[in-house]
Subunit: 333 residues, 2 copies
DNA sequence: GTGAAAGCGCTAACAC
DNA sequence: GTGTTAGCGCTTTCAC
């Protein structure tokens, strides 16, 4: 069994209150006493039991971050941003992967209900708007990267619409007119927002929107190839394609390459996210960068601000994107 | 404030002991009482406070997994394996990223000392063998993916030596004789083991080992290109290169491609890990697959077995690799 | 089958 | 500046 605060008190010849005081620096303690306590702590190898402390304080200083999986490498920087901001406020970030599984996500959220965590950040949740609103009414929560339509919940993400607009506008400025888009089937708000950006870029450049130029699949790599094949089967196929993710973009690049296309010449491709893969690929994939580190920092700052002020301000923060030009978009003009 | 067990007891007209019994199914309770309790729980939206429970039980059922970062996409499956095994035993896995930072890792390990977690799994630690031994004497810990030379600690990883041997032996059987290797500078045991596998394959095939055929850098993508350039500058450059990671392999592939080489023809490359990137790349990167899911399952099974039996069995488990043939190794014969 | 009560380790009044 | 003590929410022995 580990040493407790009592053991330390006895060894130091003081009361538990005094030990607690030096532990938390919560009140003045005579130098002599403090010294005795610290000596005893060292000798006994004492470390305060946080279960006791947290129970007493009704807080854990732990923020739970639920991510679908660690596969999406772009979460990495977001998490780093979260951690850095959290530690500045004395909080720790604990990660959990839900595998996009509703039951598992609920089980993890249980940490909120059973007081093992003070707050939660959801990166791509399975919960619907109503459930999120309920949750947000009772606990400090935030959405990250993926907003929920109709849910008034603190959320921070990249400017999806603007990023997509910028990408497509860039392609148009490069001389492209027939631009397809690969999006997802579900109701993911980020996909919807990016579709809107795509449409607005077309519109503002006087290019008519064509329903058949949008292919919808899943987030899986394989749907890049599938989308490519779909477009190629069209009577009047697009020469360029904007994808809602780099993974999908890589899928079309790989498929096009394997079919003998010269990507960046015969066909142009643009992704979204700027994951490591995009820079590593040959050819380098042109994409829209998300300010991951800043996104991570911002959510926890806002969340902790809500916790500390016992407020429930539900900001919707959109952070700026950045277009990353590489080699997959041909400059015709 | 949330409802407590007292509130439930009052609402149900029973004692807290009875509520606890139905909560934990720990002893027989009359059907009538159980019904009352469950009704009260539902009405009050009661959820047991785990801080109280855990404090009382002296356990949290939480296993902390400390990973360097979520960037290495191959951790993803390992984590899934850990989670699945853990949940079968009533445990949860909580992730934390150390960013390969000693101070941060210690701060996270503090969760072990302060009883916020029952056990920890380290995937690539900054601690030295002595510190690990000390830790292992006091808490249930395990190493995952990366053993520590001289530390008698429960560890599970892929058969690094065997995997490297298989890769190099395969390249030799494909007709290659001049095979370089890109490894890392530090004391990472996995790199050392893979170097040994490389040397043994050479030896057993009667090919003399050449010191200048080993390039050592960091794990960073950029060192793939650096290694490639180093080899090319040699008076008698290798025609094939085995890398200790897929990221590094992708680095050499990209660099070679950009220099006009036909990878898989003019130069052959083999990686290690079989991360998603390898299959997505063009050309597909030949590599050695780690049984990630199984690795994850196995560590937590062994760890929980130690916890439950209050034992400290320090198995060293090596799981089998699998060679994945793709397009970056030329078959000369 | 059920309740009273002790106590897990800690913090924070409160009294001195 | 320091000690005593109540109590955070829970489980579990013990008695009935």
């Amino acid at each position: 069994m580990n040493a407790t605060i009592k053991d330390v008190a006895k060894a130091a010849g003081v009361s538990v209150a005094t030990v607690s005081r030096v532990l938390n620096n919560s009140a003045a303690v005579s130098e002599a006493a403090a010294e005795q306590v610290n000596k005893a702590i060292k000798e006994l190898g004492y470390s305060p039991n946080f279960l006791g402390r947290n129970l007493r304080r009704c807080e854990t200083n732990i923020i739970l971050a639920i991510i679908p999986s660690t596969e999406q490498t772009f979460y990495s920087e977001i998490i780093r941003g979260m951690q850095n901001a959290a530690s500045e406020y004395g909080y720790d970030i604990l990660l959990s992967t839900s595998n996009s599984n509703y039951a598992l996500e609920m089980r993890l959220l249980n940490m909120l209900f059973n007081r093992t965590a003070d707050a939660a950040i959801l990166l791509g949740t399975q919960l619907d708007a109503k459930a999120l609103m309920d949750l947000s009414g009772k606990y400090p929560i935030a959405l990250c990267c993926e907003r929920s339509e109709g849910a008034d919940v603190l959320t921070v993400s990249v400017d999806d619409e603007g990023g997509a607009y910028a990408a497509v506008d860039y392609m148009i400025k490069c001389g492209h007119k027939k631009i397809g888009m690969i999006s997802t089937n579900g109701a993911a708000a980020s996909s919807l927002d990016r579709e809107n950006g795509y449409k607005r870029a077309l519109l503002e450049n006087g290019i008519p929107f064509r329903e058949e130029y949008i292919y919808k699949g899943t987030y899986d790599f394989s749907h890049g190839a599938l989308g490519f094949e779909y477009f190629r089967g069209l009577p009047d196929p697009p020469h360029a394609v904007f994808c809602i993710s780099d993974i999908l973009a890589a899928g079309v690049v790989k498929k096009a390459l394997s079919e003998g296309y010269n990507v960046g010449e015969d066909i142009s491709v643009c992704g979204f996210d700027n994951i490591l893969l995009s820079g590593m690929y040959t050819p380098g994939i042109t994409t829209v960068e998300q300010p991951c580190y800043e996104i991570g920092r911002t959510v926890v700052e806002e969340l902790i601000s809500n916790i500390n002020n016992n407020s429930k301000i539900r900001k919707k923060i959109r952070l700026p994107y950045k277009l990353i030009e590489r080699e997959t978009v041909k400059k015709i003009l």
